[in-house]
């Protein structure tokens, strides 16, 4: 598997956690005051949902080394589970149904992770496609999942926590931000724990991991479960906070690839990387359409835009794999070190 070492070099000036605290303070204290509704609706909400999904996939693929092409299925499972729990279970608070939806996604993740006990590499990657197609088919086929609505479309319930309504753009942003921050923190703790080390050991050399006494099968299934839990909750945010109306077709194979691209571009085996990648994936189509419209005018219609997006995205993937295999995170760290060095030597 890819030889990616975790980044142990601490930031030289501030303690490591200070940066996160400052970032969170900014995200909670400043962004809601200055942000426009476009910023929340079109950039920050998809960024948070996809970033969290990236964190989930990174635990499975980046840390534990099991490539999955079925992430969108777990997002869908989470979204539809939360919808049904919220709808059918009386008196269950919203947070409760989101948590249970994560558990449902984790259970499905364990089922589709079972092949990983015998399969490796490409064989496993292909078998995760089974999850992708099966979940999408089940959600479209059985209208019970979408409360008998046409073509499986579901509408998100009102978002409120403890009587506090969060339906506006800012409210939904804060709702998503809170969940994403908590889960990201937990994921960060996880990957630097014994379990996280076990994941990495299995990725780097399964036989060696088994010899030093890591329960390989259990650990692999645990990676599938945790990853699917996080991706499932990301699906809930995607459905409830970002789009508000989703259908199973929105969680197709392209979405799975998108999440895979996020962790390749952002950096495999890096929690921060998922957010770097998600930022690029969300902002880049918007930027490209602005740029295209500006340079080419009317020739640049939505069809051309769609195709050029595909081309540029594909090229970006290949460029990152060749030039910066550790992703945007590595690029960022290098630039930061240079700047610090330049600053200290003056």
């Amino acid at each position: 598997m890819t030889a990616i070492t975790s980044n142990f070099s601490a930031a030289p000036v501030l303690p490591k956690w200070m940066a996160s605290v400052l970032l969170l303070a900014f995200a909670y204290g400043v962004v809601p005051l200055i942000g426009s509704s476009y910023l929340f609706e079109a950039i920050l909400l998809p960024f948070l949902a996809l970033g969290l999904a990236g964190v989930g996939l990174n635990i499975l693929t980046g840390y534990a080394g099991q490539v999955s092409l079925g992430s969108a299925a777990f997002m869908a499972a989470g979204a539809f589970a939360a919808y049904n729990l919220n709808l059918r279970v009386e008196g269950l608070p919203l947070i409760g149904s989101i948590f249970l939806a994560g558990i449902v996604a984790a259970a499905i993740g364990i089922v589709f992770g079972l092949p990983s006990l015998r399969l490796k590499g490409f064989y496993l990657a292909v078998s995760t496609l089974a999850a992708q197609f099966f979940v999408q088919w089940a959600l479209t086929k059985f209208s019970w999942f979408s409360n008998e609505s046409a073509s499986g479309v579901i509408d998100a319930p009102r978002l409120s926590i403890g009587g506090l309504a969060l339906d506006g753009a800012v409210g939904r942003y804060l709702f998503a931000l809170t969940i994403v921050s908590i889960l990201t923190f937990l994921a960060y703790r996880l990957v630097s724990s014994q379990t996280g080390r076990n994941f990495i050991a299995i990725r780097d050399n399964e036989t060696a991991a088994r010899i030093i006494g890591i329960p390989v099968l259990k650990t692999k299934l645990l990676a599938f479960a945790i990853s699917s839990f996080i991706i499932g909750v990301a699906g809930v945010i995607w459905a409830f906070a970002y789009l508000r109306t989703v259908e199973p077709a929105g969680f197709d194979l392209d979405r799975s690839f998108q999440i895979l691209f996020i962790i390749i571009i952002g950096g495999l085996a890096s929690i921060r990387g998922a957010f770097f990648g998600a930022a690029l994936i969300v902002v880049f189509p918007l930027g490209l359409s602005r740029l295209g419209g500006f340079l080419l005018g009317d020739v640049f219609d939505s069809g051309v835009l769609d195709m050029s997006q595909r081309i540029v995205l594909g090229a970006l993937i290949i460029l990152f794999l060749i030039l910066e295999p550790d992703g945007l995170v590595a690029l960022w760290d290098r630039i930061r070190r240079r700047l610090l060095f330049a600053w200290q030597s003056t």
Partner: protein, 299 residues
């Protein structure tokens, strides 16, 4: 219940399934070629298939004669093969296979985008001049087009097998497949071999693209036939041409039979995932597929 069983109908479904399995095999062979020589699962095979079919159809629609369009498209596919070797594979030599797989994922996005940017997104009809009149063999109706596809596939497999076994470059393909370092050490020219094998995969993509295009119409969804070929590959083993054929037949037959006989219990439409379940169930017994080499560990 058993007495009512309609054998003729059963055989008709079975034969139809087997023949559509051949169509899956056609796509799968393109994957096997590349996997054998570079250990890469080339996800871009479907995109190549779309590109080839779209280029061919667009040339024919612009008044280029059939044979000339065929040659021109093949030339373009060779050029693409060489370009891929230069720009993607060479910088990624000796990287882990999974990195190369992700690169081909990116590649498939580029090729799909380019194909439609150049030739447009509308659906093209493709007529290969084969009449699709069902043929009656022993009371069972068989599509003539399917038989034609099967013959083409058989010819291609024969050609490829002979090529791998008896030609010098075929031998070097196998050497590279066995051990890249060793092949480099004895002086095999890796770039040339890779360019050739990608060109060969381009040819397979062209043939498969034409047959599938004639069936479904040439359009974006053509690139999705890779998703049909993947379970075939898993079942047959990624590195076996024979496996691709047998896997295709098994998947094609079981998929059709399942759709007809048990599909109703699931509310229909199970063909999107049934092949994967068959392949998975099989893999649990034999983790490297029917004919795959037992070295999945190295991945």
């Amino acid at each position: 219940m058993i007495a009512d069983f309609d054998y003729q109908f059963f055989i008709e479904v079975l034969v139809g399934g087997l023949l559509s399995g051949v169509m899956y095999s056609l796509v799968a062979i393109g994957f096997v070629l590349i996997y054998k020589t570079s250990g890469v699962l080339n996800f871009a095979q479907g995109a190549l298939l779309l590109f080839a079919a779209l280029t061919f159809v667009s040339l024919v629609e612009r008044g280029v004669p059939f044979a000339l369009a065929l040659v021109a498209t093949f030339a373009i596919m060779v050029a693409i093969g060489i370009a891929i070797e230069r720009t993607v594979l060479r910088p990624l030599t000796n990287k882990p296979p999974i990195t190369l797989f992700m690169a081909t994922l990116g590649l498939s996005y580029i090729i799909e985008g380019a194909a439609q940017l150049i030739w447009g997104t509308q659906v093209h009809g493709l007529d290969l001049g084969i009449e699709d009149v069902p043929l009656e063999v022993g009371g069972v109706l068989i599509s003539q087009f399917d038989i034609f596809a099967a013959v083409v596939a058989a010819g291609m497999v024969l050609l490829l097998s002979l090529f791998f076994r008896y030609t010098r470059i075929g031998l070097s393909f196998r050497a590279v497949a066995d051990d890249q370092f060793a092949a480099l050490a004895v002086g095999l020219r890796l770039p040339l071999i890779w360019a050739t094998v990608w060109a060969a995969a381009g040819l397979v993509a062209l043939v498969a693209g034409l047959l599938w295009g004639a069936r479904l119409g040439v359009q974006f969804s053509l690139s999705l036939v890779v998703l049909k070929a993947l379970p075939v590959l898993v079942l047959g083993g990624f590195d076996s041409i024979l496996g691709a054929i047998v896997g295709g037949l098994l998947i094609g037959a079981s998929e059709k039979l399942a759709e007809v006989y048990i599909g109703d219990y699931f509310g229909g439409g199970i063909e999107s995932w049934f092949a994967y379940v068959v392949a998975l169930a099989f893999l649990l017994i034999r983790p490297s597929g029917l004919f795959g080499q037992k070295l999945v560990e190295r991945v």
